[in-house]
């Protein structure tokens, strides 16, 4: 499972970076979404998972068997931040289109 996730991180990241480097801002926005997903998945994969981890509910787990809530908190926060950034990029894209800014990026 972990190997599959790691490969997924690689593919998403590669696709995301490739699109981010494209000349069109539209592609850069899509690339950013892919890249953001890759990084979120990376955080999930990089943090150790206990094999028989129980969910952090009151009577379902003891401190020894609990699933680590911190990486999940990180990822949730990152998803929300990514949402905000994506919204901004799209708004920038709309504005750039409207103003006729040429979509070349360095």
């Amino acid at each position: 499972m972990n190997a599959l996730a790691a490969i997924a991180v690689g593919v998403l990241g590669a696709a995301g970076i490739y699109l981010l480097l494209a000349r069109s801002l539209q592609r850069a926005a899509i690339g950013f979404v892919l890249f953001g997903n890759a990084v979120n998945l990376l955080v999930l994969v990089a943090t150790p998972v206990r094999p028989a981890a129980r969910p952090p509910l009151l009577h379902a787990a003891t401190p020894e068997t609990i699933a680590d809530p911190l990486p999940q908190a990180f990822i949730l926060t990152a998803i929300v931040i990514g949402l905000g950034l994506t919204a901004f990029l799209v708004a920038l894209l709309v504005r750039a289109r409207r103003d006729g800014v040429e979509e070349g990026t360095s």
């Binding site: 970076i17 950013f32 990084v39 999930l44 911190l70 990180f74 920038l92 750039a96």
Partner: protein
């Protein structure tokens, strides 16, 4: 209880004010009054924090009362207090310069965004948690994305694109690095991290940490990832680019100053940083010679001066660290002053090109004198603040026997002087053909610039007590014991 209130103020003040402004849109004078009030309040709060930490105390706030392992802790030590004070002063000068600095239409969101930026910057200075640092960086960055594009047309928007894209990629890398750090060492709290690393860390941790430090280097505009700065800063609104040039890159430098001594690494990190710092100093000033607009030149200088600060960090002695801190203090004040003073002339001439600014200094002798003082301070001429900053760094370099890098620092100082004289010649010495355009009414910007230059002169005169304080702060930074004990609650060794 007292400590908690002081630590909350630098974030709560701008956040609440920003929300108020967003709830009452369109009332520019109310916004400006609120913004000035917040800036003044920040100055007072930061001064109180500096006083509270001057004897080496570390004030800690555990958000929600959670233990730092699972929760977020905010800590104010000497360095954080200094950075908060500098941020407050820069914010005050920039807020004074706001009226009329940008196109009127966008002014509606200018000050709320500025408040969000300040909240993010202040929180970055106070946080002791790597992931919280990521969140605060994002807050700061999102506000800065909007601010950098505000007020202009197509040109400004186009200039903002590289800034936005580089920073979102850097943010993604930062998150990846933080996740990997958590995965390899089991904590993202800086104090706990430092304690665990001292007991030995797996090699994967160092790879993750290298990624995180690389992101800080991007934010600080170090070589070779600094090109976004001269590409994007000159195009923004004047007060905005002044605040960014003075403050935003220093957040990256602060992150390096905070994390590198805590993490240690047997000097490998510092050894890598030394040639990077030397290259940054050199490339920054050489790039300045290729520009002919006032803010274009000054932007490259920002890069070069950041190289000086990291040079101090890379020398790895407490005195060098203290010299770097003095340099950061001097630079934030002087750089913001230069951008603002130069901005007045730019507004008068209607363009930033030096060719169009011939003879403008004669119409505004006091401001021109202030600009000259700030320029000489940046170049390192005695008796101004920059002289002391550079002198301490060079002394530290010689003490640490880093001959090549110190030689580069001296040479770059001379080149910076040449570059500043090029600007000065453009403003003051060239003969003007035809009449000069009428000076615009921008008392606020002039006031902001004068305030900062006065502060810079004071720094220059008070170099000795400043160095003494910086040495105390640097010693605290270098050992990290006070920081760890205050946050974790007991000594870990």
């Amino acid at each position: 209880m007292n400590a908690a209130a002081l630590l909350l103020l630098p974030i709560a003040l701008p956040a609440v004010a920003g929300l108020l402004m967003a709830a009452l849109p369109g009332r520019a004078r109310l916004h400006q009054g609120l913004a000035l009030g917040v800036a003044a309040g920040l100055c007072v709060a930061a001064a109180a924090l500096v006083v509270a930490t001057v004897d080496g105390a570390v004030l800690v706030l555990r958000l929600g009362g959670w233990h730092p392992h699972v929760g977020i802790a905010w800590a104010a030590d000497g360095l954080a207090a200094i950075m908060l004070a500098l941020a407050a002063v820069s914010a005050l000068a920039a807020t004074l310069s706001l009226p009329g600095s940008l196109g009127l239409e966008e002014e509606r969101w200018l000050r709320p965004l500025l408040m969000a930026l300040l909240a993010g910057v202040n929180a970055s200075f106070l946080t002791a948690d790597l992931f919280n640092l990521f969140v605060c960086f994002e807050l700061m960055l999102l506000a800065s994305f909007a601010l950098i594009a505000l007020g202009g047309g197509r040109e400004r928007l186009r200039g903002a694109l590289p800034y936005v894209l580089i920073n979102v990629v850097a943010s993604g890398l930062f998150l990846a690095g933080v996740g990997a750090v958590y995965g390899t060492i089991g904590t993202v709290n800086l104090a706990e991290l430092s304690a665990r690393v001292a007991d030995g860390a797996p090699p994967a941790f160092w790879a993750a940490m290298a990624l995180v430090l690389a992101v800080f280097a991007i934010k600080a505009a170090l070589a070779p990832v600094f090109t976004w700065l001269p590409d994007s800063y000159p195009g923004a609104g004047i007060a905005v680019s002044a605040l960014f040039a003075g403050l935003l890159t220093k957040v990256g430098v602060y992150a390096l100053l905070r994390v590198v001594p805590l993490v240690g690494g047997d000097g490998v990190i510092q050894a890598v940083l030394l040639p990077i710092a030397a290259a940054t100093m050199l490339l920054g000033v050489l790039g300045a010679f290729g520009r002919d607009t006032i803010r274009g030149i000054l932007s490259f200088h920002v890069v070069s001066q950041v190289g000086y600060m990291v040079f101090g960090l890379a020398l790895a002695t407490p005195f060098a660290l203290a010299a770097a801190i003095v340099y950061v203090i001097h630079h934030i004040v002087v750089k913001t002053a230069l951008f603002l003073a130069g901005g007045v002339f730019e507004r008068q001439a209607g363009t930033g090109a030096l060719k169009a600014m011939a003879g403008l200094a004669h119409g505004r002798p006091w401001l021109a004198a202030a600009f000259f003082i700030a320029a000489m301070a940046l170049a390192g001429m005695p008796p101004f603040s920059g002289f002391w900053g550079k002198l301490f760094l060079i002394m530290a370099g010689l003490e640490a026997r880093a001959w090549v890098a110190t030689g580069i620092a001296v040479a770059v100082g001379l080149l910076t002087l040449g570059s500043m004289l090029k600007i000065w010649a453009g403003i003051a010495w060239h003969e003007r053909e035809g009449e000069a355009p009428a000076p615009r009414a921008d008392r606020g910007m002039v006031a902001g610039a004068m305030l900062l230059v006065a502060l810079s002169i004071a720094i220059g005169l008070a170099a000795s007590p400043l160095l003494a304080h910086a040495r105390r702060v640097a010693d605290q930074l270098a050992t990290g014991d006070a920081y760890r004990t205050a946050i974790l609650g007991e000594t870990r060794r």
